[in-house]
Every structure is written in C-alpha cells, then in structure tokens.
C-alpha cells in the first residue's frame, strides 16, 4: 500500500507546510505582538522537529520493515537544514540587522547562541554532501561524516534548553525523544529488529528444482 502512495511529494508538502503557514501568518498579521520572535521561534522549533524526524527513519524502517522512510530521509534532513538556516538568518536580521561584527561577537558571548550556531553550521557539510555522487565518492567517510547529525541534534536540544527561562518542560520532552532515538541505536541488532518477530518471514523467491 505504501508503495502506491506518492510518498515523496506527500512528505515534501508536509515538511514545507510550516514554512508556508509562517509566511501566510506573517502577511496576514497573525504572528502576534512580536512577529520577529515568532518567526525565529517557530523556524527553530521546526528545524529541531525535522532533525528528530530524520533520526526516526532508521528505527521506523527496522521496526516496521517499511522501505519508504528511507526514501524521504534526505529530504527531511534538507528541510531541517532549511529551517535551521531560516532560524539563524531571521535571528541575524531581527537581532542585529545583519551587521556581522556585533552578530559574531554576540554569538561567542552567549553559550546558547554559540551552541545553536554550531548546530546550524554543522549541518552545512551534511547538506553539501547530500547528493548521490558525494555519497558514492565519499563511501565509508560519508557515513562517518553524516553520523555527526547525532551530535547536531543534541546541540539543538541543548540550545533550546539553555534559552528557556523557567519552564523547561518542552525542551525536556525533545530531549526525551532524542534520547529514545539515540538509545535505540545502542541496542543490540536483534533487538533493533524486534519487529521482525511479529511479521511472517519474507518470502524468498523459489528456486527451480535442481536438475539431475
């Protein structure tokens, strides 16, 4: 069934929808009293959510046996990067009017800013090597490079945790989700594939009987 659905276009629309909604809200005056902060906050949250969605692909694939999640992983990762860039650019624009001197100084003056910047900057090489040719050229190094996404997701959650004033519930929820997704990867392989036990063994193509 999943094969029949146009999975890629659907996921594309779902991942692009927040950007469309934020834009529509901006032009119709529905961002509230503080539109700059609303744009910064909402784009940042979607960056984090899509990072987690990217990290959910492998567990979903192994637990369910579905193949379609793998086909949208790159797109989810690139959308996370897109929201991260929007988040950083909006901050730079509304906080510093894009004046690079004060912007740069501010980044390294405040831990939550430095952590957030490193998370977005760390996504640049991943986005830059996301196409098939880079994958083939880099081989095993591609896999190693792209494992840094675990660290970048952790930095993103830390950034969120560091900027809230007192109510840390939401950052802790994201931290919990991330812990589950990363913890899954530490499980022994058979446990990761626990879903296989619930499914009939895949049918193997029947071989022609051996000739005499």
């Amino acid at each position: 069934m999943a094969q029949r659905l146009p999975v890629k276009p659907l996921v594309f629309l779902a991942a692009a929808a927040p950007a469309a909604i934020i834009t529509a809200d901006a032009f119709s005056g529905r961002l509230g009293a503080n539109p700059p902060d609303a744009i910064i906050d909402r784009s940042g949250l979607w960056c984090l959510r899509l990072l987690l969605a990217t990290l959910a692909v492998t567990p979903l694939r192994l637990l369910t046996g579905w193949r379609w999640p793998m086909r949208v992983r790159r797109m989810l990762g690139l959308f996370a990067f897109f929201y991260g860039v929007v988040h950083f650019a909006a901050w730079g624009l509304f906080e510093h009017g894009l004046r690079l001197g004060p912007l740069w100084a501010d980044l390294w003056d405040h831990l939550y800013l430095a952590v957030g910047f490193l998370a977005v900057a760390g996504m640049v090489p991943l986005a830059a090597t996301s196409f098939d040719a880079a994958m083939r050229r880099l081989g095993v190094w591609w896999v190693r490079l792209h494992r840094t996404v675990y660290l970048l997701a952790a930095l993103s959650v830390l950034h969120y945790y560091l900027l809230v004033k007192a109510d840390v519930r939401d950052p802790l929820i994201y931290a919990g989700l991330l812990a589950v997704l990363l913890g899954y990867r530490l499980l022994p392989r058979p446990w990761q594939r626990a879903g296989d036990l619930l499914r009939p063994a895949p049918r193997r193509p029947t071989r022609p009987a051996a000739g005499p």
């Binding site: 009293a33 503080n34 539109p35 700059p36």
Partner: protein
C-alpha cells in the same frame, strides 16, 4: 420489548416567549455580527472580557510621548505564569479568575494591619494616567498608559513602623482558576518585594487599569504594582497581600535562579543576564532592536536610590 421514551420535563421545553423571540434573536445576532465586522475593520479590537471604563482619570507625571503599544498587543502578549508560560496563554485562560469580591491583607510592620476589601483600599486615592515604558527581562518592551495611584500614598495610610525597611507583595494562590499554578514552574504563590525607599519613590504605582479601562485579568486585575525602572517581573500582578518587613523578602524569580534574577532587577544595559544580553530590546510593534536605557530611562527619578552600590553585584 418496547422502550418507553422518557417523559419530557416541562422545564426542558423551550419557553414560549423565548421560542417566539427566536426571530428577534436572529435579527440581533445578524446586526451584532455586522457591527462586529465593521468595528473590527475600523477600530481596535473590543476590550478584553470584563473591563469597564474608569471615570475621572487625571493625567499624571513622568509621562512619555513615545508611541503607545496597541491595546491588543498589551492584552495578548503577557508573561503571567499563573495562567501558563506562553505569551498567549494568559489572555486565553485568565477570564476564569473571579476578581470581585477581592480583598488585600496588609500586615507586618504597620500600625493598621488587617484584611481590607478592595473598595476600601482604593477609595481615598484619586486615579491618574501614567504612560510608562515597560521593559521585560526577556529583552522586549512596551509603552503602556496605566491607570493608578502612587504606592507611597497607599503605604502611608497603613502607617509603617520605624522598623519597616522592605515591602513584600504576594499574588493570589488559586490553582483552580490559575491553571499555571497546577505545575511547579515557580515557587507559588508569586512574591515580589522592594526596599521601602524604592516603594516610596513617586514613580512606583499601584495600577488598576490601562487605556482608561479596568485591568484585564491577564494584565494583573484587579490590583498590580508598576515599577517602570525595573524589569517587568518585579511589577507583581493580582496582589492579595502586602507586608512591611525588616528583612529583605525572598522573591520568586530570585528563588528560582538567584544568579540570573536579582532582588533589585533594575533595567541595566551594562549588566547582561548570564545567558543573554540586556543591551538592546525589541519594542513591540518594531522589527529591529533598539538600545536599552539605564533604569529604563528613569535615571533622573531613581539613580539616587542606588548611590554607592555596585550594580553588578546588586543586579
């Protein structure tokens, strides 16, 4: 087996006058809807629930001619954790709070302690409009036309003793109507405080309204403090208790994070919050940040209060 329908009680039958009135109701609803649409396009949004116009407000001192923040922004973008920690939660959740009747307990180092109905607290004080800048510790700001009276005038009525050095104020604790208090985000009830000479400064007011109307609940109805040279969290809302004390009171944000929120919490662009800068602020309604002024621009009135104090230490 045939089930019998339950008999219809006469009190569940629509009364005839109501039934006959349905066309009138529809007509009124229609007119109302048209009026609402017209009003929405021409005027600022209707005042929040339960506010009433206040009569006989005289203009007060220390005003600013800066553009006032719109009524809608002032009443929908609030930090009032008793009603939830998002900016929009207070305006959504606060209308459940009963603010009438209301009483205020006055105690500690005063000659006339007691619990007084709000009417008695307010009666002798002429109300004035004070257009103040309001600077949040989160680096945003507004300009708000408050309606209120000097805190000093209130405190003097209850005759502070010679021992009184601080004022402690507390917000209502009512988890049933203040859903934010059902979670331990802060150490409820919310408590704030001032040194007595700060409280006696003519800038410090008790507010009962804004924009000429009684306070909406999300802005701290029915009685709140406004100390415009300090970060917004000092201006405690929905006050039920005022005590004069010998010792510096323990205040809520200071308890929550002593290295981040000091007892004084004076607006100071030169002393950053440990996690973010306080040098600039976003005036609600503007896109880019502007510089923050020392004491939020009220240095002329309050600098003398802190003479000789290290404001990096007493932040």
């Amino acid at each position: 087996m045939i089930k019998r329908r339950a008999p219809i009680h006469s009190d569940r039958v629509t009364d005839e006058s109501v039934y006959r009135g349905r066309r009138r109701f529809l007509a009124q609803a229609g007119i109302g809807a048209v009026g609402l649409l017209a009003g929405a396009s021409l005027l600022r949004p209707a005042p929040a629930n339960g506010t009433m116009r206040i009569k006989n407000i005289r203009p007060g001192p220390f005003g600013t001619d800066e553009d006032k923040t719109s009524y809608e922004d002032v009443t929908t973008y609030n930090n009032y954790y008793e009603f939830g920690t998002s900016k929009s939660a207070p305006s959504r959740n606060a209308d459940q709070l009963p603010t009438d009747p209301w009483s205020v307990e006055i105690g500690g180092e005063v000659g006339r302690p007691g619990t007084y109905p709000l009417e008695d607290i307010l009666k002798p004080h002429p109300l004035e409009e004070r257009v103040y800048r309001h600077r949040c510790v989160e680096a945003w700001s507004m300009v708000i036309p408050w309606v209120g009276f000097p805190l000093a005038d209130l405190l003097k009525r209850f005759e502070p003793t010679s021992q009184a050095r601080f004022v402690e104020l507390a917000t209502l604790y009512d988890p049933e109507h203040m859903p934010g208090q059902q979670r331990e985000v802060l150490d409820w009830p919310y408590v704030e405080g001032l040194r007595l000479d700060e409280a006696m400064n003519p800038l410090a007011i008790m507010a009962v309204g804004l924009y000429g109307k009684t306070l909406p609940n999300q802005n701290g109805a029915p009685l709140r403090l406004v100390v415009p040279w300090k970060y917004g969290f000092k201006s405690i809302k929905s006050i039920v208790k005022i005590r004069l004390t010998r010792e510096q009171p323990a205040t809520t944000w200071n308890i929550a994070a002593p290295n981040e929120y000091g007892f004084y919490a004076n607006v100071n662009p030169n002393v950053p919050h440990p996690r973010w800068s306080q040098a600039r602020e976003r005036r609600i309604g503007e896109f880019f940040k502007r510089d923050t002024e020392m004491f939020n621009g009220y240095g002329e009135q309050v600098t003398h209060l802190y003479k000789g104090m290290d404001l990096r230490k007493h932040f």
